[in-house]
Symmetry: C2
Subunit: 438 residues, 2 copies
Amino acid sequence: MPFKPFPLTKNQLETIAQTYETPFYIYDEKAIRSNAEKLKAAFSILPGFKEYYAVKGCPNPYILKILRDEDFGGDCSSLPEIFLCEKAGILGENVMFTSNETPAKEYVYANARGAILNLDDITHIDFVNEALKGFPELICFRYNPGPLKKGNAIIGNPEEAKYGLTRDQLFEAYAKAKKLGAKRFGLHTMVASNELGNDYFIETARILYELAVELKHKLDITLEFINMGGGIGIPYKPGEKSVDYEYIAKGIKKIYDQIIVPNFDTEIKFFMECSRVITGPYGWLVTRAIHEKHIYRDYIGVDATMADLMRPGMYGAYHHVSVAGKENVTDENGNFIDGSDSHVYDVVGSLCENCDKFAVQRKLPKIEVGDFVIVHDAGAHGRAMGFNYNGKLRCGELLLRSTNKIVQIRRKETYDDYFATLDFKGLATFSGAEPKEK
Amino acid sequence: MPFKPFPLTKNQLETIAQTYETPFYIYDEKAIRSNAEKLKAAFSILPGFKEYYAVKGCPNPYILKILRDEDFGGDCSSLPEIFLCEKAGILGENVMFTSNETPAKEYVYANARGAILNLDDITHIDFVNEALKGFPELICFRYNPGPLKKGNAIIGNPEEAKYGLTRDQLFEAYAKAKKLGAKRFGLHTMVASNELGNDYFIETARILYELAVELKHKLDITLEFINMGGGIGIPYKPGEKSVDYEYIAKGIKKIYDQIIVPNFDTEIKFFMECSRVITGPYGWLVTRAIHEKHIYRDYIGVDATMADLMRPGMYGAYHHVSVAGKENVTDENGNFIDGSDSHVYDVVGSLCENCDKFAVQRKLPKIEVGDFVIVHDAGAHGRAMGFNYNGKLRCGELLLRSTNKIVQIRRKETYDDYFATLDFKGLATFSGAEPKEK
């Protein structure tokens, strides 16, 4: 049993690569659905539970369609993200529009589509009221607990984060919204990113439930939902442990029973906006070793680059790397099995940036040119964050259907895509042939 | 005199914004040319001086065309970059192909175009020989001095960098290349990025000149050129000083006279591959304040995001920020003038990432919604590094011609661009209207 699963054998990859050249992303529908079912089963003890998948994690409508089939909504923060949801059939209040520094036209569009507007600042009340020529009946506010809540490495400390309203502003905002005609209310916060501590989420829910009671007593407002945001992490590294859905759900339910049940006649729904934990472990970047280099260190050059997957280069983030057909050199904890032929490599892309490294000084089985090198946990914040630096084209996406069929759900970029925003007509151009696709 | 110049007044920006909505990049042709002239004047004391502009810094063919008019070549590391050079009329040996982990087809294309191949590894000799079915007559190798040379913050230490050949490999490589039929040789290194120490570059040249002598004595190879790479920095922050072209050129010339002149009958040309110092200070990201927010800190939300300019979010890099019409609140050192109305802001974009901040806790004049907020030193590694995370569209580019005419040299992205790689046909789609441009 390898440390991290990958659903295809080396032979299957060879067959796929005959049609779809590496690099490509591949997602596993069956695994995504099975994880969604587990999440729903655990959280179904909370009234009106709904997960709004944060579209930015994997903005592919075919993935969103799978999640919609699992009754997930979509958390959007831009117009194109709302549009992707619509293409996948995620409509109306199944769209949570959690944006910040939002242009007026985006509020107008989101509102026209019936999305839930989740406002990031108190000044957005007037801004929205003016943009929409009237205030929506349903409104949510994002709370920033500031120094009350300790942050984590990626998102920083809440009091240094640009998001949300302070506690005082929150009460002022609900009162003002009520006066402007709002009748249905939600409350949101999000203060973590890639957090693996189960209790962190339970404590976040407690903050929101306590505020719900205070809002009732001070303003006679009964929240329709609280939205805990996202931030549930995944164990990228050996030795890290997945969060426990059941533990978190039960912990939150206990607080709900203590705080909400005695204070309200009606139920308060529980929403979240995760993406990493929903698709992260079920997507992989598949790339091929094309060069081997030995200087002060040993390098494997692959045909993907940081343009395809930014996290290692951008954050120094760890992604597990495996080699197709050589999975069994490690045990289920990622440790090399005695006698296996292990080497220490930097696995690098071709970008003219030294941080373009998928793995740094990593113990791996011996890699030959031509081997498939698989980067794990790339199903969220992977293809989504790609760029075109150095003239690099971003790769495509495949989906392994539950039927075991492979379908392409995003083609790779072409030179024409890269040049799309340029008009060469203003140049006295060289008349040579244009570069051809492979 | 403001701390950092911007070539347009607030009124001029208002006029431009009527045609080209913010955010946009704008480049100053006159300033780019004037800087290019200064560089050439200083380095003309070195035989055969040529600057190969590193295309990745600003991959716009209209900018490249200006540089070509100034007799610059292009340093490319991907096929689309070569193509952009060709569109700008930078052809043949005016293209330096400094790539790494290169796919075979890119060597084939670069060679067919007559570009100089600069090989990153000893194994690329056989790789190129096979890909081209023969070895090129002109070849360059990239040297990695390893622990001999101290690195800097961005590029790291050379012995941890993926680039280049070791010293031993270098001699082996030239011998092998010669045997394969190469007749003209170059030597390259690049071990800095955004370095402001003048002597750093002089010392780099010394390493290359000393190697040139050794290559002559050991292998009877006379280099045609040395290529010092790029890495000359710019003073992003108040208090930092520009490098001194004349000091560097004179320092290198002195070493040339000491080391090269007594050992060679012929001249060895001097090349470099800068981009930051060439266009960096002469390009700006122009954005508009659209929101003002006061929570634990004071925030100005602008209509550009990290998708338009990554450096602050990605590296925590400092970029000077000014406000159109309010330039005179600071002196030429960037210090606020007594009595000016200064505030401390975080200037942020709308990305759902807390690192989407152009300025953090920055002393700025009081900003009103609607003000133009100008991000300086964005003329290299700016638009080039943009991404589409969160469904954000990358902005366009304008050029202020030497004639004072404004021309658009790249249109901003549209929703169609964003969706270009998706085929919605496989989805049972919602039949609503598609989002419209503004």
